[in-house]
Amino acid sequence: MIITTVLFYLFSAILLGSATAVITARNPVYASLFLVLAFFNAAALFILLGAEFLGLILILVYVGAVMVLFLFVVMMLDINLTRLKEGFLSYLPLGLAIAILGVLELAVVFWTSPLGHIPAPGPIPANADNTRALGVLLYTHYLYPFEIAAVILLVAIIAAIALTLRRRQGTKTQSIDAQMAVRAKDRISLVNLRGPEQ
């Protein structure tokens, strides 16, 4: 299939280009928009491989929710670029060393483990439903890891809320319960203003 090959290289090129732009863009808003583009093309690659569930979930979760919040925060920051650039050169050797270490480790893993030698999957049946297949696998074979991961995430959410929750005294927050409990007779009293009968 020549069309899918062309599309694969197109999406990959845009993905790599936008991923590079994420770290080179000067404007943080541009950087996060490039990250959106990178996610989008990664999703397109998933769908090209027939993994439409992963692709759509990537768009739904990362593009639809996570990056919206990222942009939300980044747009409100007043970032001083010159201050950000201070110390760029002094951190460069350390950063490069970590990057090279990471690449080396990945290379070792791919060379020595069977991970690098997985045979190409066979042709996908025409109406394979990988959402169902993934669901069945997650809720039967991998039930415990899946549930434990979910609980860990829940704990992280609760911890983040507990760490940042401050109950300040003296704020004028409305008490919704009190508002809902209000009845008309508590707020309005109708007074008969008609004078004596004429």
């Binding site: 299939m1 069309i3 808003v29 928009l33 959106v36 439409e52 569930f53 759509l56 979930i57 768009i59 739904l60 593009v63 639809g64 929710a65 919206v68 919040l69 942009l71 939300f72 747009m75 409100m76 109406n127 439903d129 959402t131 919704i176």
Partner: protein, 342 residues
Amino acid sequence: MMHDFYQTGWWAVIWSIIKILIVVVPLLLGVAYLTLAERKVIGYMQVRLGPNRVGFRGSLQPIADALKLMFKEVIIPSSANRFLFLAAPVLAFVPALLVWAAVPFGPDVAISNMNAGLLYVLAIAGLGVYGIIVAGWASNSKYAFLGAMRAAAQLVAYEIAMGFALVGVLMLAQTLNLSKIVEAQAGGGFWSWYWLPLFPFFLVYFISGVAETNRAPFDVAEGESEIVAGFHVEYSGMAFALFFLAEYANMIFVSLLTTVLFLGGWYAPINTPLLTWIPGLVWLLLKTAFLLYVFLWIRATFPRYRYDQIMRLGWKVFIPVTIAWIVVVGIALETPMRAILR
């Protein structure tokens, strides 16, 4: 060989373009006349006539509006980010059209009758907010920026409730394919549609749809009484029109999807020969039109929600309600009620 040619050759591309045009052209006409319907309906509700100058009783008003908007200058504020300022209306408009790829108009009649259709529409419908956020930021205006921030927070809040509501549909239909979801509601007329067993989801989905399309009473992103016009305050001409096209296309889409998910899609409300003789597309469009009328009705009836009340409704009311009802549906599916629900 002939078969291969039709499947993969240029014919497939041309046929796709024809299908897209068959959907998009009536959609844009529908958008144009929805603006007229809105002005007329709200006019009558407020004991006015609404537009009645252009054409017979104002019937050509949308054409006049479109011509006016096309010939107006697109003004770019001097301190705006030029590229993103012009990209934002496109970012809002494109997802509004993209979602229609998965919308079924009849049994297996869709531009793409994909297996993961429900997931696709949920994913793509969430992208429209980028247009609003980018517009608010690129305009370099306080009002626009406030509108964008409000839109972002609101969208994230209501998308979760919307997603949970769709989980309920998924549990009963056992498929993500929109066409098959409608077929799962076939049978006993409107009693077998999903609005009944999933009534809380039906309400939550539709109200979240109103919130996601930034319509009154949840239109704080525009909020003309506080922040002038919100995210599109700096836009004029066709750039402004694209935001409106997107908003109205999204309204039609939410109404149609509510019909597909909860109101039995193209099935007649009562299984009698007279009603089932009417084509399914007519039923689908009639139900959609009714929900669109509800959109306008809501706008004419309710005052705008206060911003913190919107957030409370989304996070503290809708999400717990949907989670509770998912548990209820889950338990019901394990009892003999399963036979009735499925």
